[in-house]
């Protein structure tokens, strides 16, 4: 992807104010996103992945706040803009599909009425145009437009999730941020939704940031993958590269924690221990206390992101590997 990135996140820091001090939920995260790219963000609960999304969409509310870094969307830094200034971008260029989208609809209003609310907040469209566009986006996601008049409870879980995505498509944005949109769905519905997102993306060309705790889910769908651990990016690179030869011990452990339905049945161990409390993160590598290949200096030297082949890895094991040399 050679075109200018649509989104540039630089050194983003998000902190929650807690009685005991500042908790760094997102710690100096940087990445670019090209137009039409699909970036998967995976990690365990509490790793900061949802906070990162909220920070990109400027949806954080106290006690969380961006305390450093920038988010350039189409060349404009969104950090520090007021709601009024953001309104021009929101929903039109950048939309968000929330976690448990199934319950994100207002239960006492029809799907169509909620679409209308979203449109009216950003554009002065005629009634006909609103109706037309609402039907159009529903058709796009494979729902009969008759459901414009349906209430959320009349749709199944998968359909509600699709309707939520339809709503995000109202203005054909260039970036859609998705926070575990499939987590409440069954595997069959989940897969069909993923396939659909991919199809829509091919058709409409929007970029996607897709956050999930289920690494296997994005394995076949994302172009690039970022693995987060304790507020930091542990590894980022082409999805297949990360899956085929995970360079960070955490990504490797995460990948090895998925039993497979194919191949021989092997005994697995998972990753012993728990993620660190972010109030007082370990001074060195944050994964050091759980790491199976830990070195003595890992406990006091915080690792940077080092290039290994074509991925970036936050692990001292790869410190001396010079980037690009053996691509």
């Amino acid at each position: 992807m050679s075109s200018a990135p649509i989104l540039e996140v630089t050194d983003l820091v998000v902190e929650y104010a807690a009685p005991q001090g500042q908790v760094g939920a997102v710690d100096h995260v940087s990445f670019d996103l090209a137009p039409g790219e699909f970036l998967g963000v995976v990690g365990e609960s509490g790793c900061g992945k949802s906070t990162l999304l909220f920070a990109i969409a400027q949806l954080l509310s106290p006690p969380a706040a961006i305390t450093g870094g920038a988010v350039h969307f189409k060349g404009r830094n969104l950090v520090g803009l007021t709601d009024k200034m953001l309104a021009a971008s929101r929903w039109q260029d950048l939309s968000v599909v929330m976690q448990s989208a199934m319950n994100a609809f207002n239960p006492v209003k029809t799907i169509g009425a909620q679409f209308k609310d979203a449109i009216k907040a950003h554009q002065k469209w005629s009634k006909d145009k609103i109706r037309e566009r609402s039907a159009e986006v529903l058709r796009l996601v494979g729902i009969d437009p008759i459901h414009v008049k349906s209430y959320p409870h009349q749709l199944s879980g998968g359909m509600r999730q699709r309707a939520m995505i339809a709503m995000a498509l109202l203005f054909t944005p260039e970036l859609i941020i998705m926070d575990e949109p499939t987590s409440a769905l069954d595997v069959v519905a989940q897969r069909s939704l993923m396939v659909q997102i991919k199809e829509l993306q091919a058709e409409l060309g929007f970029a996607v940031i897709f956050v999930t705790h289920d690494m296997s889910l994005v394995s076949h769908f994302s172009d690039r993958l970022a693995v987060m651990y304790a507020g930091q990016i542990a590894e980022i690179g082409a999805t297949r590269a990360v899956f085929d030869s995970p360079a960070h011990p955490y990504s490797k452990g995460l990948l090895d924690a998925f039993p497979s339905i194919r191949g021989p049945r092997v005994h697995m161990t998972g990753i012993p221990g728990n993620p660190p409390a972010l109030l007082n993160p370990p001074p060195g590598c944050r994964f050091a206390p759980r790491c199976p290949v830990v070195l003595p200096r890992c406990h006091d030297t915080p690792p940077e992101l080092y290039p290994v082949r074509d991925v970036l890895v936050r692990c001292l094991l790869h410190e001396n590997v010079k980037g690009g040399a053996h691509v």
Binding site: G142, V187, V188, S192, D214, F221, P259, I261, G270
Partner: protein, 347 residues
């Protein structure tokens, strides 16, 4: 498992059925949560019950735990029908042998009580023979068994001091305190992070080895079901559609629904293949169902008879059965009348 199983199963259900009446006086409908389920669990066996949400798998767990009464059918525990349990002592006795571990580790432990509370209550209720010192020793033993050490300190802690995975271990310790024969584990790992799920699954396998318990592992995650279970039971829309040895079902799925389910399981190790399955159907809510296969509207193989007749479980391989009119049997499957094979079919 042996060729022809003549053992008395630990637990067996016969045409187990549970309906719920929904709606009000004027629009009453019948939701068929579970219909005609025949399930067999042997001693020291881990059986996985898998299906989508709403397929009735949790209802089966609650029926087995005597939370619900069956609408029809019977549950036999060591060949004794549960409906014959009359006295409170009998019911308590059964419950201590068949305890349940719940899905949500954050809701299933009382935050105001120490860890000792739940375990001690179980011991006082179900293990009358123990004195105070015996209870303390037993509580420490079960906590050590599930990997929570030092057990003496753990007993005096509060739930908030533990992570989700550790709390779920407390849940298993409570179940163990009752000296169970069969633990009903309803989605015990689905709320946990991926990196600690495996630890719990390993624990389940260890409990079988060390304590000799059987487990009914209820899950929507086929991959984890494969990891721990001996036998796999697949449910769809309130009915058991396929049962067999786990590897048989996975490598040679008979029912079209099982095939669909397996094709949808994401597998990072599999080669890239996005276009494989794009079924957009969803399981039906089974309200006042008409006869006929409940999967027929999504089924690529559906024929005439599927519209009219409920498919019954048929033996299609060695100890491998599916409820499908179309599925074909393995070559050398013994031909036996369906009714007679019902039990062996679930072995």
């Amino acid at each position: 498992m042996s060729e022809t199983d003549t053992r008395v199963p630990l637990l067996r259900t016969e045409k187990l059925t549970r309906h719920f009446t929904i709606g009000n006086l004027f629009s009453r409908t019948n939701l068929h949560a579970v219909d005609d389920a025949d399930l067999v669990i042997h001693e020291r066996e881990i059986v996985a019950l898998a299906g989508e949400s709403g397929s009735g798998k949790s209802t089966i767990a609650r029926l087995l735990a005597m939370v619900y009464k069956p609408t029809a059918g019977e549950i036999y525990f060591r060949d004794k029908p549960l409906s014959s349990l009359r006295s409170r002592t009998d019911v308590l006795g059964y419950r201590s042998e068949v305890p349940m571990v719940f899905q949500d580790p954050f809701a299933s432990l009382n935050p105001a009580h120490r860890i000792s509370h739940g375990i001690m209550r179980t011991l006082k209720l179900h293990r009358r023979e123990l004195d105070a010192a015996g209870r303390q020793a037993e509580a420490e033993r079960v906590l050590t068994e599930v990997g929570l050490t030092p057990a003496g300190e753990v007993l005096n802690k509060y739930p908030y001091e533990f992570s989700g995975g550790q709390r779920q271990r407390v849940g298993f310790a409570q179940a163990l305190a009752a000296k169970p024969k069969l633990i009903l584990a309803d989605e015990p790992v689905s709320m946990l992070d991926v990196s600690i799920r495996i630890g719990l699954l390993n624990l389940m396998a260890e409990l079988r080895e060390k304590e000799g318990v059987s487990l009914l592992y209820i899950t929507h995650d086929i991959a984890s079901a494969r990891y721990v279970s001996d036998r796999l039971v697949i449910m769809y829309a309130g009915q058991i559609v396929e049962t067999g040895a786990t590897e048989d079902v996975l490598h040679n799925p008979k029912h079209p629904y099982t095939q669909l389910l397996l094709s949808a399981v994401p597998d990072p190790r599999a080669p890239l293949r996005v276009t494989a399955q794009t079924d957009r159907g969803e399981p039906p809510k089974v309200i006042n169902p008409t006869p006929g296969c409940r999967f027929r509207s999504r089924c690529p193989l559906a024929i005439d008879i599927c519209e009219r007749v409920d498919p019954q479980p048929r033996l299609l391989g060695i100890n491998h059965s599916a409820a499908c009119h179309v599925a074909t049997a393995d070559p050398n499957t013994p031909k036996v009348a369906v009714g007679a094979t019902e039990q062996d079919g679930h072995e």
